[in-house]
């Protein structure tokens, strides 16, 4: 699967409170959450995200609380993929579980500026900054996680297992 979109960049240690502030977790609607995404960091970001855009972040993206509202907000904003050299583990699980593509990839954050065109091949893990003409290789998904993604998320897998 190929994804293509413009980059929004984020520094390291972006925590889930910054992704979606605690005052908004009273909602569970991805669209409502998306309208408040990263509000404390950049109040206009939610209006600038175009469907398909890609988040390129530095290390430890998604640290902090377990709130699934964070990946839901990103999904609600129709961001197609999040790329970072490392993710906090609960965020990583949550994203995979709800079918938000998320790639561990070193090197791309350092060369990417906001607005750069990014292209991702989820299967091969090849990540390109088209604007800069640079290519990177993301870590492959472990087999178990790949099967989760292929089945469409954790709940789909649970249902499939129950019907087996």
């Amino acid at each position: 699967m190929n994804l293509k979109g413009n980059a929004h960049t984020f520094e390291r240690d972006m925590n889930t409170d910054v992704i979606i502030a605690g005052r908004y977790v009273a909602s569970t609607d991805p669209k409502v959450l998306a309208s408040r995404i990263f509000e404390d960091l950049d109040p206009t970001l939610s209006t600038r995200i175009q469907p398909g855009d890609i988040f390129v972040a530095d290390a430890n993206f998604g640290c902090g609380s377990s709130r699934e509202h964070a990946p839901l907000a990103i999904k609600g904003a129709e961001v197609s993929c999040v790329i970072a050299p490392s993710f906090a583990r609960i965020f990583y699980r949550n994203a995979i579980n709800i079918g938000l593509p998320i790639l561990e990839c070193k090197g791309i954050y350092e060369v990417t500026e906001p607005g750069d065109e990014i292209e991702v091949d989820l299967k091969s893990g090849v990540v390109k900054n088209v604007t800069k003409g640079l290519e990177f290789q993301a870590s492959p998904f472990p087999e178990f996680i790949l099967s989760l993604i292929e089945q469409g998320g954790l709940m789909e897998k649970v249902v499939a297992d129950l019907n087996r």
């Binding site: 409170d17 430890n60 640290c63 609380s65 990946p71 839901l72 583990r89 609960i90």
Partner: protein, 425 residues
Amino acid sequence: MGQTIAEKILAAHAGKTGVVPGEMVDVELDLIVGNDASTPIAVKQIETYGLLDKVAHPSKIYLALSHYSPAKDINTASHIQLTKRFADRYPEVTVFPEGYGIEHVIIPEEGLVGAGDLVIGADSHTCTYGAVGAFATGVGSTDMAAAMVTGKTWMKVPETQKFVYTGKKRPFFTGKDLVLYLIRQLGVDGVTYQVMEHAGEALLDFTMEERLTIANMAIEAGGKTGIVSYDEVTERYLAGRAKRAYRPTFADADAMYAAVYEWDISDLEPQVAKPNLPSNTVDVSSVEGLSMDQVYIGSCTNGRISDLRAAAAIMKGRKVNSNLRTIVVPGSKAVYQQALREGLIDIFLEAGALVGPPSCGACFGGSMGILAPGDRCLSTTNRNFTGRMGAATAEVYLSNPSVAAATAVTGKITHPAEVAHEPVL
């Protein structure tokens, strides 16, 4: 090859004799925990997939209505309603009603978790239960939903870093200071995907309540969980309290660790985390004198009876500074009642503090103590991220309850020894 505590607990729940880091395992769970912020999404997932009648082991499910307690608006009231309606289908599901307490205070307090248990909770501070020797980790709502249906979850066996403490703690140095010091050394991703194992003779000096604080903040260094080695303090706490059989689990002498640290804590002073990361920690002496607009004492980190005792010992016979709000929130109904019996609530009220009902309250910017733009708050909670307790430009500092109480009295960050000379534990 020897095994760590975490590896032994995971192996036991995967039906294996041993596991190695990196291995994917399917594990049986002893407890599944949720709250009124995370459970609604889990319930909606279960409903979407037509699984409302398929919950596997309802008696393992514990739901605490603690985040908005009581509800602050229609949305939060609806979440509580949804959570209760789900639980109504299963009489064996335990619901802790509004005002009963924060899940990570109640569950150890009531003896619902013990050594050797495997627990997931849809809340990142589920790692708190590592204090009693359990492997407990936070997950999201979808993981919780799947676990409620299957009674199991998947895990990648994590590596472990071991922390061995020696020496003797100084007055007013608590479990909170130890864990803040640790995060100061390791950074907020110092143990990502890994387990912290706490050991060493100095730990004998830390009460179970302090250990719950230490384990609670494992996630603040990115940890999957933080387990305190089973010893006589654990034994005393669990005996007569545990509602199920527990299995003390010990690391083998030849267990493999990703890193081993040995720290002498003898010279350490109370710690304060400055905005906006828990790793931005310094000695209290280097921030003394900084004026505050609010002091918040409570949460699953420091809302237990010993925390309130420590705060009351400082506030007793004194007034809180009129330039700030002081808010005290007992972590559970039992803590509240005990504090009433001991006269602590009177001390707080006499001092001019506001006492709230057991709740997560302002800890995550939920309700009852939200900060205005530019406000500065010294809080006994676990996170000081941008916007965590209210406005994005508000600043949150983290400390132990004695430092918080001393600060409440003077209005500026203060070493408790300057206000009261003898610490109370």
